[in-house]
């Protein structure tokens, strides 16, 4: 009877153990890492909106404060989407006949809200509250990025739990003075010497603000029920 297998089969069989372990590790690692890619998180992917609203124009060029439209950000859980009325404050006069704004005028005439596409959508089992963050010195751009540079909106954060915990574990690395909450560029390149006579040093000023704003100790900040109730 001839040999069933060539003698190289022995080597192949031994190699297959090493290769198998490496391959399994590689596949597992890739799967885990794939979860962090924009393919899953949709970070840096601009979303189409019913109206081509540009934060770049309104924030960057016009310098409108975030809170002019997102009025409830300091007092409630949601930052608040502006009603059409807010748009019409200006656009009843400016670009009043622009075809781009037909949908806005329709919404105004028919008293029907515009259906914006949500960009930052947290899972429903997370009880996120904007007001506590804004009132404890977490600035808009810390999470939402340079909105003043976005023609259409996208998220810069993964919105995954590891991202939340990054700050909840070490808030001193991200915190800023409450007066600078809506500042788009933070930390400032050249701090105003009147406001910050010693300049801004996150390593020193961060922990100081954490104490000053009475931010909860770490065990509270990362306890499950802080965000999941």
């Amino acid at each position: 009877m001839p040999q069933l297998f060539h003698r190289s089969t022995n080597t192949l069989a031994r190699l297959s153990i090493v290769i198998g372990v490496l391959l399994a590790g590689l596949v597992l690692g890739l799967l885990l890492e794939a979860n962090r890619t924009p393919f899953v998180t949709r970070a840096y992917v601009a979303r189409e909106q019913p109206v081509q609203f540009s934060h770049k124009h309104h924030v960057g060029d016009d310098g409108i404060d975030c809170r002019y439209c997102h009025t409830t950000v300091e007092t409630t859980a949601t930052a608040g989407m502006p009603p059409t009325k807010t748009c019409m404050n200006c656009h009843s006069q400016l670009f009043a006949n622009s075809p781009y704004l037909e949908i806005v005028r329709d919404s105004w005439r028919l008293d029907r809200p515009i259906k914006w596409t949500r960009v930052h959508d947290l899972p429903d089992f997370v009880y996120f509250n904007h007001s506590i963050h804004v009132n404890k010195g977490v600035g808009c751009s810390t999470c939402h990025g340079r909105v003043d540079l976005m023609p259409l909106m996208w998220n810069v954060a993964s919105l995954q739990m590891e991202w939340c915990l990054e700050c909840h574990r070490n808030p001193e690395n991200f915190i800023r003075p409450k007066s600078k909450i809506t500042e788009m560029v933070w930390p400032p390149k050249e701090p105003d010497p009147k406001e910050f006579p010693n300049g801004w040093n996150q390593a020193v000023d961060g922990p100081r603000l954490v104490r000053e704003y009475k931010i909860q100790p770490k065990d509270v900040m990362i306890s499950c029920s802080t965000c999941h109730r």
């Binding site: 069933l4 297998f5 022995n10 069989a13 979860n35 962090r36 993964s158 995954q160 739990m161 590891e162």
Partner: protein
């Protein structure tokens, strides 16, 4: 004793563990033929068709469950654990007999384990697979079941290492892995036998790959025996630990009826009890259908019966102690729980349980009953049902009436609870049917060691070592002959 063994007139009063008239060749032939035969036996096809329908029922139920969520089951608040966990514990328990037979009886050098161990190990594997389905699906979101394992993830979250549910994940996955390794290791020499017996080329190649280059070398055997013994040593604590951990799921909770220190030993005994009942439930028909009376002898069946009798009594002691504890605790809730268990709305279940698990198996005290296969089979069916009811009594009846009467609620299973449960029975039997047909269900090489020809005669060995040729033997060939 030693003298008695050496004495040629000494006769073992027990019937032999392998039938008469078999030799090395006929053992291989008889067992390998079941695997290598062309086509299928009619009875096998018929049975397979039925159990395969059961599997299909299971897969459909699972598909619907994933689509709709666990709301299709009867689980409610407060009865958050019901059929899902009952079935999980029931199946895991059944698996334990396989490990006991293959590991503990190996270490105890019980030669009667050798024909039923492969069979029982396969049963363990399939039972654990069925068991694993329930916790994996009862989470409601099986696609995030990887949360159960400590894998670095985007949530930076670890399972709660203080929770027995997490230990359970470790216990069951370890158990499955070790059982699979043990089962496959034992199969390697037999796959080699099949490779050498097979006529067709593809069969030779298939079994050749599975045999992993086994040539029956002395070195191979030496390593095999060592590895097998090591694995047996690894599995032995698992027999005790896995079901202990399963019992912690309940015992660490404060629910009356769960919060008992006797749970671990009582669960382990129950598991072995249920497992042996399942081994016999499967072995008795298979033995008859494939005419394996020479391999699975009456002695095997009698021994299984004795193990069942012993573990059944431990379980009965457990029931008794539960009663005692609830009285001795003087706790209103514990005492109410026991009253509810016996005379509450599900009380009849408790009495059927006592009948199935404690009263009927006492028949096994009689030797006549231990020799009557039909009676044994029926008793085993009662035990299978009884052990399922035991988990119902513990899980549902503790939850549906706990501390606050305003939170009480009755539990009623839905049709999907039943299709899921009987579906796993179908799936389990499908796997068993495939195993019986495509894998040697009795270890060929281990049976050979039981033959009289394979026994070492100490006198002859001594003579050979002293350079004396045994009487009547042809002289050993010498170099240069």
């Amino acid at each position: 004793m030693a003298d008695a063994v050496k004495n040629q007139d000494y006769v073992d009063p027990r019937p032999p563990v392998v039938g008469p008239g078999l030799d090395f060749r006929s053992i291989t032939q008889k067992i390998a033929d079941i695997v290598l035969m062309r086509g299928f036996k009619k009875g096998w096809v018929f049975g397979f068709a039925i159990v395969f329908l059961g599997s299909i029922m299971l897969f459909n139920t699972i598909a619907y469950l994933v689509l709709k969520g666990v709301g299709i089951w009867g689980n409610n608040i407060p009865v958050g654990w019901a059929f899902d966990i009952i079935n999980f514990v029931w199946w895991i328990g059944i698996g334990h007999a396989g490990t006991l037979i293959s590991a503990i009886l190996l270490l105890l050098r019980q030669s009667w384990r050798n024909s039923i161990n492969r069979f029982a190990e396969a049963m363990t594997l399939f039972a654990v697979a069925c068991a694993g389905m329930f916790p994996a699906l009862h989470t409601g979101r099986p696609w995030v079941d990887y949360w159960l394992f400590p894998i670095p993830n985007t949530m930076q979250m670890w399972p709660n290492f203080r929770s027995p549910l997490m230990w359970d994940v470790f216990a069951v996955t370890t158990y499955f892995t070790v059982s699979l390794l043990f089962w496959f290791m034992g199969l390697i020499p037999d796959f080699a036998s099949l490779r050498d017996t097979a006529k067709k080329k593809w069969q030779k190649i298939l079994f050749g790959i599975l045999a992993m280059g086994w040539r029956g070398d002395a070195k191979h055997w030496h390593r095999y025996e060592t590895a097998y013994l090591l694995l047996a040593g690894l599995s032995t604590p698992l027999v005790l630990s896995v079901h202990s951990v399963v019992s912690f799921d309940f015992a660490t909770g404060i629910v009356p009826g769960w919060h008992t220190t006797i749970f671990p030993p009582y669960f382990v005994a129950g598991a072995i009890y249920a497992g042996f009942a399942m081994v016999l439930t499967l072995a008795i028909p298979v033995r008859k259908y494939y005419h394996l009376e020479d391999f699975i002898t009456l002695r095997h069946i009698r021994n299984c019966c004795k193990v069942m009798l012993a573990t059944g009594l431990i379980v009965a002691y457990g029931y008794l102690m539960e009663q005692f504890f609830s009285w001795y605790s003087s706790s209103t809730y514990e005492m109410f729980m026991m009253k509810n268990r016996m005379f509450g709305p599900y009380g009849y279940m408790y009495w059927i349980l006592i009948l199935c698990n404690i009263l009927i198996p006492q028949l096994l005290w009689w030797k006549k009953m231990r020799d009557n296969l039909a009676v044994i089979f029926i008793i085993c069916m009662f035990i299978n049902v009884g052990m399922w009811l035991e988990r119902f009594v513990i899980i549902v009846m503790s939850l549906n009436r706990d501390f606050t009467p305003s939170a009480w609620y009755m539990y009623r299973p839905t049709i999907f609870d039943f299709t899921m449960f009987f579906g796993t029975v179908g799936f389990f039997l499908t796997c068993m049917f495939l195993f019986i047909r495509f894998v040697p269900m009795i270890p060929i090489f281990e049976m050979k060691t039981l033959l009289p020809e394979a026994q070492v005669d100490e006198k002859k060995v001594e003579d050979l070592e002293n350079g004396k040729a045994p009487v009547g033997a042809t002289p050993l060939p010498q170099f240069g002959d």
